[in-house]
């Protein structure tokens, strides 16, 4: 996985334009280092768990991904509120980029959750409170993206998506609450509250800690790049405007 970001030297070289910049280059580099450290500790140095065995290593990426997904949703709701309130297109694009990155991490959380469940519970899917909530979160995000990617012009898409985005966090909270009650109604909460009881320490704790750092860095890097792509897409859309007005006037003059 190579993240090519050309580090721009002092003189702005007219090299190929990309969504990269000095910050993303540094960020990308540090993220790679963090991932390497995570792999080293998470897979090699840290011991297997007393009762889960090797499966605990999955949690070093699973738990941080879940957190990243929720942060993405928070960005989407915040961006949507600020777009509706202040018509700030910048924040609307943050909401959109945040939702896409959050969807990626929600899928990751779900898949790693199932891959963790298989060796631990013997089945891929258990209607466990956290896993079910994550699945619902994915559906809510897909609803937002479906509206945001409509083929109408920007104003129509952005406003409707902002209403859905505004309600993303409240919906998630209500879903988690209802699923939590629902699942604890029948069986006591499974140990998989996050699979790690409080006794985790030492290298395992460090691995988890590194996991959070690495995932957060990647999340930020992806968010910035995804935002810039969305920004460019809107700029390209706007570009033809002046030309269109001039052309339209010409059409009138010749009539």
């Amino acid at each position: 996985m190579t993240i090519e970001t050309d580090a721009p030297d002092d003189v702005v070289d007219p090299g190929p334009l990309t969504t990269g910049s000095r910050t993303t280059a540094v960020l990308g580099g540090v993220a790679l280092v963090a991932i390497a450290v995570l792999a080293l500790f998470g897979l090699v140095l840290s011991p297997a768990d007393a009762n889960q065995g090797e499966a605990v290593r999955i949690l070093y990426v699973h738990v941080p991904s879940a957190t990243a997904a929720y942060i993405g949703c928070f960005l989407t709701t915040t961006g949507s509120v600020l777009y509706l309130w202040r018509r700030s297109r910048w924040w609307e694009l943050v909401a959109f980029a945040g939702a896409e990155v959050a969807t990626l991490f929600t899928v990751i959380t779900l898949v790693t959750g199932m891959l963790w469940g298989r060796p631990t519970w013997g089945v891929f899917w258990v209607w466990d409170a956290r896993l079910t909530s994550t699945a619902m979160l994915l559906l809510l995000l897909l609803g937002y993206l479906a509206v945001r990617r409509l083929s109408a012009d920007y104003e129509v898409r952005a406003k409707r998506a902002a209403i859905v985005g505004l309600l993303l966090v409240p919906n998630v909270i209500i879903v988690r609450q209802s699923v939590q009650w629902w699942r604890t109604l029948h069986q006591k909460p499974t140990l998989f509250s996050n699979g790690l009881d409080s006794r985790i320490e030492g290298l395992m704790l460090f691995s988890l800690f590194t996991g959070f750092i690495a995932i957060a860095l990647v999340f930020l890097w992806l968010l910035i790049h995804r935002f810039r792509v969305a920004w460019l897409a809107e700029q390209v859309a706007e570009e033809g405007l002046e030309a269109a007005i001039a052309e339209r006037r010409a059409e009138g003059a010749s009539a």
Binding site: L84, A146, L150, K159, V164, I174
Partner: protein
């Protein structure tokens, strides 16, 4: 504002009454869903008995989707959206009117379906107050959230497919809540049901606020 809302609600209900879509299509559809569940779950193995609350609310939810779709297809007639914007009706009143219209249709449907499960599935009701309260709160929740997402999908080519995708995940907590509350009311211990009614009330409150604020900007398209 309430007079305007009632004006819109009466208009919608009069259209439903005159076109008979709700009566001749949505209601039979709901009863059909109940009957199909009975075929699928083979009544005498007791499974139908246990699943009744869930089946009831799934039938209500799907019927609500039809009623919501219908409620907005009425407004898609030529030039109506512009006329509504020009009419001076405050958006809140328009939204509230449509919520009232859908809620009233749902209540009628829920009463008929209630009779349906009592007759068809032979369920016995132990907690009437809980049952009725659940129906009222769930209906308000479905109508408010449904109407808001209905206008998000309104006027779009893809609205038939977009509306379920938007509404069903959002209404999942209402489905869970209403089903658990119904289980408590139909033979269970009613006291267990009230927290769920509380959760649904919070849901309904969130969407009353979101609908009142969000409907205006959504009417403003171009």
């Amino acid at each position: 504002m309430w007079a305007d809302a009632w004006l819109v609600a009466v208009k919608d209900l009069r259209i439903e009454f005159r076109s008979r879509v709700a009566l001749n299509q949505v209601l039979p559809f709901a009863l059909l869903v109940l009957v199909l569940f009975a075929f699928a779950l083979d009544p005498d193995r007791g499974l139908l008995e246990k699943a009744t609350p869930g089946l009831y609310w799934v039938a209500v939810l799907f019927s609500a989707l039809l009623a919501l779709g219908r409620s907005f297809s009425v407004e898609s007639a030529d030039g109506v959206r512009d006329a509504l914007r020009l009419s001076g009706l405050p958006p809140v009143a328009l939204w509230l009117g449509k919520v009232l219209s859908v809620a009233i249709q749902l209540l009628v449907l829920e009463v008929v379906l209630g009779a349906g499960i009592i007759v068809l599935y032979g369920t016995s009701v132990t907690g009437w107050p809980l049952l009725l309260m659940t129906i009222v709160v769930a209906t308000v929740a479905i109508a408010t959230a449904g109407t808001l997402y209905g206008v998000v999908a309104a006027g779009l080519r893809v609205r038939e497919t977009l509306l379920p995708l938007l509404v069903l995940p959002v209404l999942a907590p209402v489905l869970i809540g209403s089903t658990r509350a119904f289980e408590a009311a139909l033979g269970g211990t009613p006291s267990e049901g009230w927290p769920w009614v509380g959760l649904m009330s919070v849901f309904a409150a969130v969407y009353v606020v979101a609908g009142a604020l969000g409907f205006g900007p959504l009417m403003e398209e171009t």
